[in-house]
Amino acid sequence: MLRRALIGLLLAAAPAAAQDAPARVVSMNLCTDQLAMLLAAPGQLVSVSTLARDPMSSAMAREALAYPVNHGQAEEVWLMQPELVVVGAFTAQAAAQMLERLGTPVLRLEPAYGLADVPARLRTLGAAMGRQARAEALIADFETRLTALREELLRRPSAALYYANGYTTGDQTLAGEILLAAGFDNIAGDRGGGQLPLEALAMAEPEALITARPYPGASRSEEILMHPVVRRLRAAHAASATTGSDWICGTPHVLGAIDQLAAFRRELETETE
């Protein structure tokens, strides 16, 4: 009884949910942060997650400085009195459920598994935020630039994506599609993410090795990128490039990653000629 009264009180204190465009939106996930920053009307986005300011992970770290940050906890987000909370499909689930119990609308946005998901996510979030027109403009721009980046190629050099703990991503991932769009052939083939044994990498002898930039603070997991085999591969023939914050989320910023990687491929081709 007391609990119900308390929840009723809290609900009454919250601003009545607007029918169409929510006036106060809070994002709790690195990727939804960036989509929300692109889509939001001035003043509409109240807070982004703390990761959005991390230049290692966020392609919009500078833009994120303009917003107060949250740490993915239900209490702090509730106190921001949001009319819409946006979370990823897999992160901060406990906080999201708590906010739903308290009566706040929560949108769970799946991560982008490929380039085609970028327009789809923009459209979904745009509709939820009442910013359909802005979403369509972003999508049109994204598609024009993506078509311009794709080129006809005679030869696709082989490449491997190699991350900490010997992890790789195949064609069925966002990073894999970036690699394909930039004109490379992924040695991991038509698959999702998974382990690429060091032996398999050595035997495949890819022409290009694309690794992640090491994070601050040492770790054993990243040590594999300095393994003598990987080092030899780099020295012998594999040109190497690094992935950055543009690669992580399915936002229009992936075009920057494709553009950079394609330039790297052209450089590689002129070297081998």
Partner: protein
């Protein structure tokens, strides 16, 4: 002893060959051995020399020294439950290694990694021996080990959770369970000198441990310097466990199971048991490392998972038996 070694050494050799022939790159054993010994073109010699060879060498070195250290600790403490993994020595060594990596000292000075793990192991063995006293009561020993493991494990997790590196926290599993995946010759060279010193120290304790079975007074009257014996066991164990843990994480139960299985073969004498256990430990870890690759070829199943599955029932059996003895 010679009869046991005549069986164990060929077993170790066969397991080493099998381990060398296992891997995602599908090549026959003769072909891979040729690439290993003679080199040649293509990536195969690189795969054999930089990926598979260090893996086999580390399994031999770490398994052998864990068996040796287990036998030495059991002989000195005159308790079949003594083992570096169970008593928190490996966990303390792991804490030392984690501190060296997370503070960045090991990046500046490579030997800092095994040295720091060694320091962790020395502290742990000293605490154990002081707490358990010269004639180790099972209960005191196990409780001291539980406390040490808990403290070292908690501090390791604290350090890794506070790291700014997003991968650090997931490495808790490696430090607790151990793995030989994707190690290089660099790690072999890093561990080798410390293991050599440790083995030399433990090599000399056989006679003392044999004498100690008659009691401390009898051993002293036979001319055994007990203080020196203790120092050798402490430093020797710390050296081998520290070096092994620094490169492959904490691998438990090898030092418990192997001496237990082989004690009957040498008539229960702790001296000869040292060498037989070293060979047995190498065989056990090689077998475990082969098994993790057969069970889950494309994911890094941790070694400690297998050694614990084999070892924990032994441990329960030993606890059961020691309960019967006290009653």
């Amino acid at each position: 002893m010679t009869r046991a070694l005549a069986f164990l050494l060929p077993l170790v050799l066969a397991l080493s060959a099998l381990s060398l022939s296992l891997g995602p790159a599908d090549v026959s054993l003769p072909e891979s051995l040729r690439a290993l010994l003679l080199g040649g073109d293509g990536p195969l010699p690189l795969v054999m020399r930089e990926i598979r060879l260090p893996r086999v060498l580390l399994a031999l070195m770490i398994g052998g020294t864990l068996g040796l250290a287990g036998a030495a600790m059991q002989g000195y403490l005159r308790n079949p439950l003594a083992e570096p993994g169970l008593l928190g020595v490996s966990a303390s060594a792991a804490l030392g290694a984690v501190l060296a990596i997370q503070t960045g000292v090991s990046a500046a000075f490579a030997l800092a990694l095994p040295l720091s793990a060694l320091a962790g192991a020395v502290v742990a063995v000293l605490i154990l021996i002081v707490l358990a006293g010269p004639r180790a009561e099972t209960l005191t020993l196990i409780l001291a080990g539980v406390a040490l493991s808990a403290v070292a494990g908690a501090l390791t997790q604290l350090v890794l959770n506070l790291s700014p590196n997003p991968f650090a926290a997931s490495e808790i599993v490696f430090w607790m369970m151990g793995s030989l995946a994707d190690r290089s010759m660099l790690h072999v060279w890093l561990a080798l000198p410390f293991m050599a010193v440790g083995v030399l120290l433990l090599a000399g304790v056989g006679r003392g441990l044999d004498a100690l079975t008659l009691g401390e007074d009898a051993a002293s009257s036979m001319g055994i310097d007990l203080a020196r014996l203790r120092l050798r066991v402490v430093l020797g164990t710390a050296c081998v466990v520290g070096a092994g843990t620094a490169v492959a994480g904490a691998i438990g139960f090898v030092g418990l199971v192997v001496p237990h299985l082989l004690r009957g073969v040498v008539g229960g004498r702790p001296g000869p048991l040292l060498w037989v256990s070293a060979a047995g430990g190498a065989a056990m870890l090689l077998a475990a490392d082969i098994a993790v690759r057969l069970v889950a070829p494309d994911r890094d199943l941790k070694l400690g998972v297998l050694t614990a599955l084999v070892g924990a029932p032994f441990f329960l059996h030993l606890v059961w038996r020691s309960r019967g003895e006290r009653a």
